[in-house]
Symmetry: C2
Subunit: 395 residues, 2 copies
């Protein structure tokens, strides 16, 4: 008895993020917590906002009858309505609760959606650098990931997309603000992307679902107004969570919001609800659904993240690193001064700074820094980052 060949292979490839995180945990034991500067994991240090604390206290003191029971696999109507209402406000698209399915985080949302639409061998397009888990999610349901490059600003390359789409293309997954690059996709690029998808839909007589992973939507900087991908293609949906905007990653609370004008919207939603159940998620946490219902207009302090970004960005530039200034999320994705990004990350590790090699995101030659950490960790990491830059020159 062992794990299946398929899973053995998947495990051997491993997750660079988790690997660095776990090696870091060992280093912290050896060298002391304060001497290891762990920038490997997007596990935000910020606590949930006070409004969340208040709601939790209120519910704990005055529990609603049956508030931990099963509900419809789609989630509570009230929570779905609250999300639809806030999303309508933000997007000017008219969502109703029927467009919302509560999920076990964005990860649950993506798995439910992919399982719903993929026949074995169907293709899903993702842009490198990408959130490494996408490859697993597509593979879980026997789909095929087609990986295409972004441009030097980490925006989707439409020429490459045009070449990659074929009659088996069922979906394109985008992630703006992006993990790991911090890029926020512009309205213009999204417009071009939507036009291209429709052109290809006509060419092949297919529908191509634009899946917009918006886990970092609320974490954007410099007063930027978020360009919603759903404005540029109606065959689309949002897969997202409150892991980042309410700092609840361990609670697995997220949702799918399908474009109200999506073709076969109702059939798709019924599929999502069915799969929420049959994939074993069943429903998003009942308690969390009660809580986030009242917190749709609330977000953690983005200013705090922006300060961290500014601090790190300025120092990295000054050290000579080559990088694009992130507009959102809490990652920065510099060029690796060494061509071999794993070798460079290992060098940083020797200097007690933990980061993740770009190949973990399908983009060798870069490395990812997660700056959702305490200031003392960021400050402490500078010496190692500087020393490595001096040793190998700019990237």
């Amino acid at each position: 008895m062992s794990v299946s060949e398929r899973i053995q292979k998947s495990m051997a490839e491993g997750s660079w993020i988790r690997r660095m995180f776990e090696e870091g945990a060992i280093m912290k034991q050896r060298y002391g917590e304060e001497n290891v500067f762990d920038l490997s994991l997007g596990n935000p240090i910020i606590e949930p906002p006070p409004e969340f604390r208040r709601e939790l206290k209120r519910l704990a003191e005055q529990p609603l009858p049956g508030m931990h029971r099963y509900m419809s696999n789609a989630g509570y109507d009230e929570t779905r309505a609250a999300i639809a209402s806030q999303l309508s406000l933000e997007t000017d698209i008219k969502f109703t609760s029927n467009d919302i399915v509560m999920t076990c985080g964005a990860a649950g949302a993506l798995n439910v959606v992919l399982k719903a639409i993929l026949n074995q061998g169907d293709e899903v397009i993702i842009f490198a650098p990408y959130f490494a888990e996408y490859v697993h999610y597509i593979d879980n349901h026997y789909g095929v990931a087609r990986i295409i490059p972004t441009d030097e600003q980490f925006a989707p390359r439409l020429d490459a997309l045009e070449n990659a789409i074929n009659e088996k293309t069922r979906a394109v997954v985008i992630n703006s603000p992006n993990n790991p690059s911090g890029a926020v996709y512009s309205k213009e690029r999204l417009h071009g992307l939507g036009e291209l998808l429709r052109k290809k839909e006509t060419q092949y007589g297919t529908k191509i679902l634009l899946i917009s992973d918006e886990a970092y939507r609320k974490i954007i900087y410099d007063g930027l107004k978020y360009p919603f991908p759903l404005h540029h293609h109606t065959q689309s949906l949002i897969a997202t969570s409150h892991s980042k905007d309410l700092a609840l990653p361990g609670e697995r609370i997220g949702y799918i919001a399908i474009h109200p004008e999506c073709h076969q919207r109702e059939e798709l939603v019924n599929g999502f609800i069915h799969l929420n159940r049959t994939l074993g998620f069943v429903n998003a946490s009942a308690l969390m659904q009660h809580l986030v219902r009242h917190l749709q207009a609330v977000t953690v302090s983005v200013a705090e993240y922006q300060q961290k970004r500014d601090f790190l960005y300025e120092h990295l530039i000054e050290m000579g690193y080559s990088l694009v200034k992130p507009q959102g999320a809490f990652y920065i994705f510099p060029k690796s001064p060494l061509e071999d990004d794993v070798a460079f990350v290992r060098e940083l590790q020797q200097l007690k700074v933990l980061t993740v090699p770009g190949r973990g995101f399908g983009t060798p030659g870069y490395f990812r820094i997660a700056y959702c950490v305490e200031d003392r960790v960021l400050e402490g990491s500078l010496a190692g980052l500087r020393q490595a830059a001096q040793k190998f020159g700019p990237g």
Copy 2:
């Protein structure tokens, strides 16, 4: 764009449980909540025990730093250790925290385990009547469900099992106390089952994992001591949750406990942890993990369920229904007085009593009553049950 053929098929077959539940919701709107007697869903009416309420209040008032963040995909060490310790006490098997993986309910546990061990086309044996979701869980990961019958007491038929096992058999899933029959498998039958598995392992040079779904383990009656399946086969694990024993079905908090002597235990556990992440569960709710850590010795009032069972059982016998007295869980599974169990359930529905046809559990000719409801619902259902019995005679 529509849902895949595979999922369309799965949806068309539907879930009888959910279908009755949802038709019931419509009937309640039409006839008034108090006039429809819904015995269709295992959604316990009992609230979580006071100890849970106290813990939740304590944590809400004095939150731990970072208590909603990501943790290891296996779950918190402290929670896993608490579970291992309580399980060791109950089973006399020496579990450690390394044998425990926290999951998104028993459903998450089963999906993680099946995904870990199944190559496409591998077989998993289940006994009818079975929890209907098993078929989906096996199919999710491209396994093949082999369904074999139980005896007249709803205990696994070992002769049928012997015939069903072949070189592709990777696992046998059992569920004691059983949903839908309420049967608790005897030590003797489990002993025979274990011996048979080892005989077949030797014959085929394979390992066969005994997966014990123990979601209802704590809900047993008449002072019965629970016969642990893990005592009879070391190639085994428990997949369970706190949905029933702590009345938290909406919170999706459960775990895998692998037998410490399981062959390739460590590789399997690493696979489970990996798949917890890559299937999109990521981890069981952080808050719930903090809570159940202190509640391993706590259970809802089983006496309350036993009273409901006794009440219903005695009335059904008196009405002439043919049935086996359940020893656990909160279901009763009488013979359908009509050969066509769907027709009989539809008759009951006309009489405002909602149940689920046996074919929803792979066993036509029976119907399931879930008695985890308020007494007034049980009492109210008697008239309809009696009328149907009188109309069609005993089953």
